[in-house]
């Protein structure tokens, strides 16, 4: 049952991918999309069945990948509560987003290839979470990177989008290098990357080695989960279609880093220095994301920076050992962030591609359904008590309180900031005067609304999944509510009224700093890309001259050396056979005489 279920889970999206790819040209347009939805639904059902029926964890060996010397790699599926829960979440949320994408992408010319990429992404994500070794995980890791690249650049006709895809790809490669480094270290020490071996023998290593290994893993996680300093690709990745942002860049792929840290927590617990760095990076990213999100004007960019900030939350939680809290937040975040992105997608769809929130406003009446679900998502993300975000966020905060007061305070401030920017987004979009000109906003099709409704329900009740036992929350509850009310009120006071928001733009230096995202991109451009380019140009010029001389010399010498050989290759088969015969003669004499 378990074996069959797990193989079915993996097989459904892969078969879907192959079917859509192979039959993409013959299938009528919507069928490819439905096929994709059905395959993900099948994977969801099989993963869910396994989750409900199987109590124990197990390893299912699939095949022996390769064996070189004493290095061996088996490909097997690890079935435990973490991997099962992750697969159910991926296929569930993924399935809903698939259905949503049916409506959102229905006019796109390359609909079938979009869904093929989507299915492939789900497959690789499942490989990532189900694999029982770091090597297998790396396959999935690279695979989702590939799909992310393909989907960010899905509308590659626009040059900027292609650039964004390239940027995401390159930055992810930096992270992957760290991951690969860690894998090579494991192979060097143990000859295998199976979790079962690594986690048992991991702590036997010296602290220095362990720190280096976990640093590698951390770099990988930082790249994938868009933490400081490898985060700049995530906001740019919003170039992709909105379902892509929802699925890959909010709900699933970017949480892979958190999953990686949570999965290898045994190693991290043996390397306190790295854990400290994890916390530091996480907190810094949370603060940074929240700060930048305060002033952004693009609806998807706000959500992207908010995602970054939330990921910082999770990463720091994983850093100070609150793995279950981190994963819990990851789940609820998947619900409400997918919801928010899809609702934002509805807005964009309704406004025919408009993404600037200063050119929205007053959509509450025009898009009532979207407003309601967006409101639910906002309440969930800011941590309003009955909604899921409250439980998960406060679980992290509780753990943070136990870990360090400083971290706790900073995270609380981030929380406040996040509620402010979310309310700002909500009010700018749905309240106030309509600033979208002559456009006629409309709700999306039914296929776009049903997934939203389901996600809204999940974002509301998702907190029940892991009801916190600790009583620390009770005093927090009141504080939270007060803070929420305050920040919401401020936001409403500034942005909610029917005033000309553009006039209210402050022009202070701090604002410019935030608006330009602390100039990180520019700094990268100056200190990394620029010098690299000029170095390349210099080397190019230098080598141009040097090699220009060199190639004449080498050409002549090669020609001189090759002359006798050229004479041998006279194109006459008789000569070849003669030479061959002489060779055979030599062999005969050498071997037998």
């Amino acid at each position: 049952m378990m074996l069959f279920g797990m193989i079915a889970t993996l097989a459904f999206p892969l078969i879907g991918f192959f079917l859509i790819t192979l039959l993409g040209r013959v299938l009528p347009r919507p069928v490819g999309g439905w096929l994709a939805c059905v395959s993900v639904a099948g994977a969801f059902i099989s993963a869910g069945t396994v989750l409900l029926t199987c109590e124990s964890s197990a390893t299912i060996g699939l095949f022996n990948w390769f064996e070189v010397g004493n290095v061996s790699a088996h490909f097997s599926i690890l079935v435990d509560s973490l991997s099962l829960w992750m697969s159910v979440m991926i296929t569930g949320v993924g399935g809903l987003i698939h259905v949503y994408a049916l409506g959102y992408m229905k006019d796109d010319v390359r609909l079938n290839s979009f869904f093929a990429y989507f299915n492939l992404f789900v497959f690789f994500m499942l490989v990532l979470v189900l694999s029982d070794s770091f090597l297998g995980m790396f396959i999935g890791w690279e695979g989702v990177g590939l799909c992310s690249y393909l989907l960010i650049g899905f509308w590659y006709e626009t040059h900027a989008y292609a650039i964004a895809a390239k940027k995401a790809f390159v930055m992810n490669r930096i992270g992957d290098l760290g991951f690969l480094f860690a894998i090579l270290m494991m192979l060097f020490f143990w000859g295998t990357t199976q979790f079962s071996v690594v986690f048992i023998q991991g702590l036997g290593l010296g602290a220095g080695v362990l720190t280096a290994m976990t640093m590698g893993l951390l770099i990988g996680a930082v790249g994938k989960s868009a933490q400081i300093p490898l985060f700049t690709w995530l906001p740019d990745a919003m170039a992709g279609p909105t379902p892509v942002s929802a699925l890959i860049h909010a709900a699933t792929m970017v949480t892979a880093g958190v999953y990686l840290i949570a999965r290898s927590h045994v190693l991290f617990s043996g390397a306190p220095l790295t854990s400290l760095m994890v916390v530091g990076l996480g907190v810094a990213t949370a603060v940074f994301g929240a700060l930048v999100a305060l002033v952004q004007r693009d609806i998807k960019k706000v959500l992207a920076y908010s995602t970054m900030s939330q990921l910082g939350y999770m990463v720091s939680a994983a850093g100070f050992g609150a793995y279950s809290a981190a994963l819990f937040h990851m789940t609820t975040h998947a619900f409400f962030k997918a919801l928010l992105f899809l609702a934002a997608g509805n807005v964009i769809h309704g406004l025919h591609g408009e993404q600037d929130i200063f050119k929205m406003g007053g959509l509450r009446k025009k898009l009532p359904f979207t407003f309601v679900v967006f409101l639910i998502g906002t309440l969930a993300i800011v941590g309003c008590p009955p909604f899921s975000g409250f439980f998960s966020k406060d679980a992290i905060l509780a753990e943070a309180f136990a870990y360090s007061r400083t971290v706790f305070v900073v995270l609380c401030v981030v929380s406040v900031m996040s509620s402010f920017y979310m309310f700002r987004l909500l009010f700018l979009t749905f309240f106030g005067n309509a600033r979208y000109g002559e456009k006629h906003p409309h709700e999306g099709a039914l296929v776009m609304q049903i997934p939203l409704a389901i996600l809204a329900v999940l974002a509301t009740v998702g907190g029940c999944l892991d009801w916190p036992q600790e009583s620390i929350l009770t005093p927090v509850l009141g504080v939270t509510l007060v803070v929420l009310a305050l920040s919401g009120g401020v936001a409403y006071f500034i942005f909610g009224k029917q005033v000309d928001v553009l006039a209210k733009q402050p022009v202070s230096m701090g604002y410019r700093m935030l608006w330009n995202k602390f100039y990180v991109d520019e700094v990268y451009q100056r200190i990394i890309v620029g010098p690299f380019l000029s170095l390349s140009r210099g080397l190019n010029q230098y080598f141009e001259i040097f090699l220009g001389k060199l190639d004449v010399v080498s050409l002549r010498s090669v020609r001189w050396v090759g002359y006798p050989f050229k004479k041998m290759q006279d194109g006459n088969s008789g000569t070849y056979i003669l030479v061959m015969t002489v060779g055979i003669l030599c062999l005969l004499v050498g071997l037998f005489l």
Binding site: Q569, D570, G571, N572, G574, I577, L578, T581
Partner: protein, 105 residues
């Protein structure tokens, strides 16, 4: 004394070697593609003779089956080879292998 007991196996080895080397010589010194193909057939036959002889000496029919297969493949090879020659002849009005040296660099 049966036939195989009167004739030592070395005789067949030597006969086959002689025919093989004559064929090889033909491949090397002839320029006509048809002659070369014929000489290759001759070399094949030398090997087949050896197989059949040893099939007799070892009382094993598998070698004869192998010879049977070689004949089939040789027939296919000749058919394909000859049609290629005829097309080349149409194109270059020559059957000379040295004229077909397009591999020459």
């Amino acid at each position: 004394m049966t036939y195989l007991e009167t004739i030592p196996s070395e005789w067949y080895l030597i006969l086959s070697a002689i025919v093989f080397c004559i064929g090889l010589c033909g491949v090397l010194i002839r320029r006509n593609a048809m002659s070369v193909l014929m000489c290759i057939e001759m070399m094949l036959n030398a090997v087949m003779l050896l197989l059949v002889a040893f099939s007799g000496y070892y009382r094993d029919f598998s070698a004869q089956i192998a010879v049977f297969f070689i004949m089939i493949v040789a027939a296919a090879e000749v058919a394909v080879g000859l049609v290629i020659f005829s097309m080349m002849f149409k194109k270059t009005s020559s059957i000379d292998l040295d004229d077909w040296g397009h591999l020459k660099g």
